[in-house]
């Protein structure tokens, strides 16, 4: 019991930025879903069983385009293709996590992934439960946000515009930490460079998959160079 409580205590501070971002974005999702005639029950169910923010927003726009199961599947694959990178990156970290592993894999969102690669549990805290609680807390925030948005959306008078910038800020901070943690900046530059070029070439709606392919090609071609400079 103590093992779990310590892990929860250690995990919580790492999730505070996600708390802010998920409550606001989750609420926005709940409000939109409600506006399509789907009650709070659907907000809870979708956030419980899908738990993928950008895909849940896309699903709302798809509600208006008619019922096309194959198309739905194809769009979901495209929007979520980046998860493959997260999975490959977490293969080692999730090794030996036992019964927690299925949930850790299920809950691997952009934000959970970013927090997990940027944080180590303090000494004496169980790594597996630490990762589990970060994932679980993040999902609780997301479900709570969507529920609140769905139920109270029309009563929110506090101006929350711009609050979701907390998630952008989270990525920027992790980016800075990563930059400082290594002398080998080639991978970071490959990530930023490929994404910027692909954003300009393919537009804002379609650049993620081309970016992933470019990144994969470059880190493969440059493997020797990256590994020889290794400090990663």
């Amino acid at each position: 019991m103590n093992l779990k409580r310590n892990a929860l205590k250690a995990a919580f501070p790492h999730t505070i930025p996600v708390l802010t971002g998920y409550l606001v974005l989750g609420a926005a999702y709940g409000i939109l879903l409600d506006s399509k005639g789907y009650s709070f029950v659907w907000a809870i169910l979708t956030s419980l069983f899908i738990f993928a923010g950008s895909m849940q927003f896309v699903s709302i726009s798809m509600l208006a385009t008619g019922f096309h199961p194959v198309y739905t599947l194809a769009i979901t694959l495209m929007v979520n293709a980046r998860h493959l990178f997260y999975g490959i990156s977490m293969l080692s970290k999730y090794k030996g996590t036992g019964i927690l592993k299925p949930y850790l894999i299920f809950g691997l969102t952009d934000e959970t992934f970013s927090v997990l690669i940027a944080s180590e549990p303090p000494k004496g805290v169980d790594k597996n439960w630490f990762m589990f609680f970060i994932t679980l807390l993040d999902q609780i925030y997301w479900i709570t946000g969507s529920l609140l948005g769905s139920l109270l959306g029309s009563f929110i008078t506090f101006n929350t515009k711009g609050m979701d910038f907390a998630l952008t800020a989270l990525f920027i901070v992790i980016f800075i930490d990563q930059w400082r943690a290594t002398k080998n900046h080639l991978p970071v530059c490959i990530g930023v460079g490929s994404s910027m070029v692909c954003r300009l070439l393919f537009g804002s709606a379609n650049f993620i998959i081309p970016s992933m392919i470019t990144i994969l090609l470059l880190v493969t071609v440059l493997q020797e160079k990256i590994e020889s400079r290794n400090s990663i």
Binding site: T20, K36, G37, Y38, W42, L45, T46, F49, F51, Q56, L63, A64, F67, P69, L73, N80, A81, R82, H83, L84, F85, G87, I88, S89, L91, S92, K95, I105, F106, L108, S114, N159, K161, G162, M163, F165, A166, L167, T168, A169, F171, I172, V173, F175, I176, D177, Q178, P187, V188, C189, I190, G191, V192, S195, R199, S204, M212, V219, I226, I232
Partner: protein, 110 residues
């Protein structure tokens, strides 16, 4: 509701299962007991350093730098985050400061 109940369940069910598939695939291909190929191990080490940059660009994907306000709220807030973080090295302070400034900028000024 735009769909019938059954259609809605199928629609969200497909999204749920397909999302799970994209998350689970690498772990199904390389389970714990199997030796991971060297190349995959290399990717696992190097990809995190490339993805965060991709996510930052993703957050700015819809910001226009050629139309007013020329991405100024984003640029100014990002600059503050960088300065705060290099100075104090406190994650929550950097994120909190940057977010509050951004909210002030988009709500009050731009």
């Amino acid at each position: 509701m735009t769909f019938t109940l059954t259609q809605s369940l199928i629609f969200f069910g497909i999204i749920s299962l397909t999302t799970l598939a994209t998350r689970a695939l690498p772990f199904l291909l390389f389970p714990d007991h199997k030796e991971m190929p060297k190349y995959v191990k290399y990717l696992g080490n190097v990809l995190p350093y490339t993805i965060i940059g991709m996510l930052v660009i993703y957050c700015f994907k819809d910001v226009s730098f050629i139309q007013a306000p020329f991405g100024l709220p984003e640029v100014i807030s990002t600059a503050l985050i960088i300065l705060l973080h290099l100075w104090k090295k406190n994650m929550l302070l950097s994120i909190g400061g940057g977010t509050v400034l951004y909210m002030l900028l988009v709500q009050g000024i731009f």
